[in-house]
């Protein structure tokens, strides 16, 4: 059974439909990438899974359970972690407090503490600054903190909104390595990404969105090999 499954989701803002009948499946320990050009509705789709935008129809199943009607905070508690693209930390809280907020709904004090130190070990960049307020961190460090915060809730699946945007290639590579490590822990990852090449290379499975609809799906490497996709959406001029 897929850990997270979206069935024919149609969503948007107000009366405007942004994405139409999108179905996506994420298995445990798998990276799924949703790629597509600007304005294709990737982020809106992600937010629709979290109950942050209006859903017109479709169902969202988490471990087989229908969570379509849940409010955002209950979806988080069910085991879906989310890393937004911008505004992804609590600026006025320290790094450690940010991590604690990720475990807000957990009751096991000892476990929270253990997870907190584990994540700080995992991201040495954060450990150095653990007592600083998050607003003093750089963009890349914030992205790491946001991922760490989401992991503190011990999610079964992690949703990431353009985790590589605005990052230098070096930091992007670091983030991708961390995502691979998270995947090894049996967590399913769903990432929405504009950097199509990097995302599909890292992903086990990919979906290509355009103008609110799913154009193509398949294994990451298979999508990458598709010539028409390369030309239309990657804008790559060099042969790789």
């Amino acid at each position: 059974m897929a850990v997270l499954e979206a069935q024919e989701v149609t969503a948007g803002y107000g009366d405007a439909v942004i994405v139409e009948r999108i179905s996506v499946k994420v298995e445990a320990g798998e990276i799924v990438a949703v790629v597509g050009p600007n304005g294709s509705g990737k982020s809106t789709f992600l937010k629709s899974l979290l109950g942050l935008v209006r859903r017109f129809c479709g169902r969202i199943l988490f471990e087989g359970r229908d969570i379509t009607a849940f409010p955002a905070w209950r979806i988080a508690r069910a085991g879906i972690g989310y890393v937004p693209q911008v505004n992804n930390v609590f600026p006025n809280l320290s790094v450690v407090e940010n991590l604690q907020m990720g475990a807000y709904f957990r009751q096991d004090k000892g476990g929270i503490q253990a997870d907190c130190s584990e994540i700080l070990e995992m991201f040495p960049e954060l450990k150095r600054r653990s007592r600083f307020r998050a607003e003093t961190l750089s963009g890349g460090e914030r992205q790491l903190l946001a991922i760490g915060r989401a992991l503190m809730g011990r999610p079964q699946v992690l949703l990431l909104d353009e985790p590589l945007a605005f990052l230098s290639p070096k930091t992007a590579a670091l983030i991708l390595r961390q995502l691979a490590a998270i995947k090894e822990r049996g967590i399913g990852l769903l990432l929405v990404e504009q950097k199509t090449f990097l995302a599909l290379e890292a992903a086990d499975y990919g979906y290509l969105l355009s103008e609110g609809r799913c154009l193509m799906e398949g294994r990451g490497s298979a999508l990458l090999a598709d010539a028409s996709l390369r030309e239309r959406f990657l804008g790559l001029r060099k042969e790789v």
């Binding site: 230098s168 070096k170 590579a173 990097l198 804008g235």
Partner: protein, 258 residues
């Protein structure tokens, strides 16, 4: 001829030295790139150059005049314009109004002239619409001239932001990732437009850019920034070929480009 000279700029944020004696020189009529890892201080550098932040040390000269510590509106009047990374448009005003707002020394913008030089500025505005139309056609937004800017899509907003910077007839533009958030095809088109303006009108551009292929194709000169200072400078191909470039910036993930 250098148009912009920044000399040993310093900026502190609560104990954090974000700019650490950063210096750069931009030659008139070129496209100059600024690259660097995240958190290296590029955006802060821009904000200090443009007067949105006051530097804690160092000096800035624009066309030979000192502009250190001047507020942005005065720097703008001297012929420098800034494009934000995330476009900041006036969403309830139309696309046209957004362009007209950017005109330098526009008539009728004072309390008195708005009332008493009415005929005069109405004439001027008519003339400005032709210029606005040219720019709108350049950025392919002409049919949307009377639409509120808030109704544009992300890519269109980015284009309007650049169009607005052009409307001021600037001598120099600072653009923070002009092609970020738009698809690669459109991104190249934006750069091709910048290049044409540089070639035909002699405009100077200083751009923050992550996409190395854009810099390779369009920039004349590149500065690499790390930890608040400029560490490398030169022609794009030279900088990218430099061994330090890989250790500081690219890391191992960049093989796919070459």
């Amino acid at each position: 001829m250098e148009i912009l000279v920044a000399d040993r700029l310093i900026k502190d944020f609560g104990g954090l030295r974000v700019l650490n004696e950063a210096s750069l020189t931009v030659t008139e009529g070129t496209i100059t790139g600024l690259v660097g890892p995240n958190g290296s201080g590029k955006t802060t550098f821009f904000n200090v150059l443009y007067g949105l932040l006051k530097p804690d040390g160092g000096s800035i000269h624009f066309r030979g005049e000192p502009i250190t510590g001047l507020p942005p509106y005065r720097i703008y009047r001297k012929g420098m314009a800034l494009g934000f990374q995330i476009p900041r448009l006036i969403s309830r005003l139309t696309v046209l109004d957004n362009l007209l707002l950017a005109v330098r020394q526009e008539d009728g913008t004072g309390l008195g002239t708005a009332l008493f030089a009415r005929r005069h500025w109405q004439e001027k505005e008519k003339g400005l619409t032709y210029k606005a139309r040219e720019i709108l056609e350049l950025v392919e937004l002409a049919p949307l001239a009377l639409k509120p800017a808030g109704e544009l899509s992300g890519g269109q907003r980015k284009l309007l932001e650049i169009g607005r910077a052009l409307m001021a007839d600037p001598v120099m533009l600072l653009l923070d990732e002009p092609a970020a958030g738009v698809n690669p095809v459109l991104g190249r088109k934006i750069y091709a437009t910048l290049e044409r303006l540089q070639r035909e009108k002699g405009l100077t551009f200083l751009v923050i850019e992550h996409r190395l292929e854009m810099l390779l194709d369009f920039a004349h000169y590149v500065y690499l920034m790390d930890a608040g200072r400029i560490v490398l400078a030169g022609k794009p191909a030279e900088v990218i070929a430099h061994p330090d470039f890989y250790t500081i910036y690219a890391g191992e993930s960049y093989q796919w480009l070459s």
